[in-house]
């Protein structure tokens, strides 16, 4: 892996404009739109990387080498696209590691993974092994440290996202959590509080490692210092009222611990944008477009109203859509991602976007 400037021409500028957007977002002011091109090379790593190929007990080095080689290839491929993408490294283990750090095993498939629910009764969380002692807690830190060692000196930021307390509780308790909302709401709060604490401890330990290796670099701690990235996928299953009652306080606890929240949810839960964006100090909400749901790009006006200034990251299908919605998007903060067929197309649309911005 080379130093970060080998993969990004306008490093300072990209960070500066992102920082402005997120500062404005937290302050509730709009007016920022950033552009990200998504060439096939950005996602090839997810297609090529086979999670079942590695022995996580005995040969983490092979895993780390191959992951970093894939990342290097994708950073190098897009180095001439001057969009707002910023290289970052971090473990890719599917989705199982997002909950197995508490307890349990990860089941690996080629391009994904999962862990199975472990809480037969909701109060069983009280009998879980102490946080930090599970196999995958230690393994995750080991993998992170290996990646950090191998990329030390490159200045490439380390990045890690987390499940929100509700996502984690759902992974641990499975579908039963939905019955618990009705049967034992107090215990749901206790479990969610446990999940918030677990996330805080896990993130703190990861961040400390990042600080050890990247603390002195210019941008190495960009994704970790004073920030937390969390997904609210399971919130898509519940109402806004239930979100406010059960989830908001615990998600807020995690955000408050770190400073600013960078959240993720789905277009399935467009009705929740308001709830999530009204949590304190949320800077960013990545609203993934779902296959069977309305597309966020078609609902900009509604999103501006609900977002409270929070920067909403969405995708679109064509550049014309960006042009058509540009003025509306300017009323809030948006980070827009356009899938492109090639690097050349990525360069072309980034240039067109700059022209649109400077008009």
């Amino acid at each position: 892996m080379k130093t970060i400037d080998a993969y990004k021409n306008d490093l300072d500028q990209t960070i500066l404009s992102s920082k402005k957007m997120y500062d404005d977002a937290v302050a509730g002011c709009g007016g920022n739109i950033s552009f990200r091109a998504l060439p096939p090379s950005d996602i090839e790593i997810y297609n090529d990387f086979d999670l079942t190929k590695y022995n996580y007990e005995t040969d983490l080095d092979a895993y780390a080498e191959s992951l970093l080689a894939g990342m290097e290839k994708s950073f190098a491929a897009r180095k001439d696209i001057n969009d707002n993408f910023f290289p970052s490294i971090g473990p890719i283990l599917g989705i199982g590691d997002y909950s197995a750090f508490v307890t349990g095993e990860i089941i690996f498939r080629k391009d994904t993974s999962w862990s199975t629910p472990c809480l037969k009764e909701i109060e069983d969380f009280r009998n879980l092994p102490p946080l930090g002692t599970s196999k995958w807690y230690k393994k995750f830190l080991e993998i992170s440290e290996l990646l950090l060692k191998k990329t030390q000196g490159t200045g490439i930021p380390f990045m890690r996202g987390f499940f929100s307390p509700l996502d984690l509780a759902h992974a641990l308790r499975g579908e039963n959590i939905y019955y618990d909302f009705y049967d034992d709401p107090d215990m749901v709060h206790e479990l969610l509080d446990y999940c918030a604490d677990a996330t805080i401890k896990f993130a703190e330990d990861i961040y400390a490692l990042n600080n050890k290796y990247n603390g002195k670099t210019k941008y190495g701690t960009w994704y970790t210092k004073g920030k937390i990235n969390m997904s609210e996928d399971i919130a898509c299953m519940i109402s806004g009222a239930a979100y406010n009652e059960f989830c908001a306080p615990h998600t807020q606890k995690v955000i408050d611990h770190f400073g600013v929240g960078y959240m993720h949810c789905h277009s399935r839960a467009m009705y929740l944008v308001k709830e999530i964006c009204h949590l304190r100090n949320v800077a960013h909400l990545w609203l993934a477009t779902d296959p069977n749901q309305p597309r966020p790009i078609d609902h900009i006006e509604q999103l501006v109203k609900a977002a409270n200034g929070v920067a909403i990251a969405i995708d679109c299908d064509t550049f014309e859509e960006i042009q058509n919605h540009y003025n509306e998007m300017k009323k809030g903060n948006f980070s827009i991602c356009l899938p492109v067929k090639s690097i050349e197309e990525g360069i072309k649309y980034t240039t067109l976007f700059e022209q649109l911005k400077n008009k």
Partner: protein, 210 residues
């Protein structure tokens, strides 16, 4: 009136109350089929419709289904004694490589809500397991859920395996899940595609009646 109450309490997820009222309805000599259709199934259909329109959410559907099951517990012996025939049998799963089970579970509950017996094979289920299950349980319906573009092709793998095992015409294959479309269902040779759980149960019932 009592049937109306059963339906209303079921929609609120009041399992204990539903159980008591079903017993009361039986004591009042209301026929088991009437209690099933006008009380339990009616309540579950209303919840299914509300879910489709985002008026209620996953927890509400699940507790309603639980209330229905508690009513069915009381009703089942009376239904059997009255000679009411089972509507039909289905096996359901999320296909291999895929762990998304929330939608699959809702489809299962809506099928059960129509009085269909459902055998749930869980998630990450491969073609051999389905073929084996069809041979063992002789279901009328095979219901396959897939949420990933990478796993929806496994619905075809399963249909092909049923053909290869010579048992394809013994079952109606229904498919669904977020990325699945009618076009895709036609392409892979499924018998039905539905976009949501309530429609899946209606389609299933229509197949069983024919």
């Amino acid at each position: 009136m009592i049937l109306e109450d059963i339906s209303t309490l079921l929609q609120k997820g009041k399992a204990k109350e539903v159980k008591i009222l079903v017993q009361q309805a039986l004591d009042e000599k209301i026929t088991p089929t009437m209690i099933l259709n006008e009380g339990l199934i009616k309540g579950m259909s209303i919840i299914g419709g509300k879910f489709k329109n985002n008026e209620v959410f996953v927890p509400e559907v699940l507790v309603a289904a639980r209330a229905m099951n508690s009513g069915l517990e009381i009703l089942r012996p009376a239904l059997v004694a009255s000679g009411a025939k089972s509507v039909g049998k289905a096996i359901i799963c999320t296909v291999m490589g895929d762990l998304h089970d929330i939608g699959k579970n809702l489809v299962k509950m809506m099928l059960e809500g129509q009085g269909i017996e459902v055998i749930d094979l869980g998630v990450d289920v491969d073609a051999d397991t389905i073929v084996e299950a069809v041979k063992t349980h002789h279901p009328d319906l095979v219901c396959l859920s897939a949420l990933l573009t990478t796993t929806m092709m496994n619905q075809k793998v399963i249909i092909d395996a049923l053909v290869k095992a010579g048992i394809r015409d013994q079952v109606v294959v229904m498919v669904g899940g977020a990325p699945v479309t009618q076009g895709f269902a036609n392409e892979i040779g499924a018998d039905a595609y539905t976009a949501d759980a309530a429609s899946a149960s209606e389609a299933a019932l229509a197949f069983l009646r024919n």
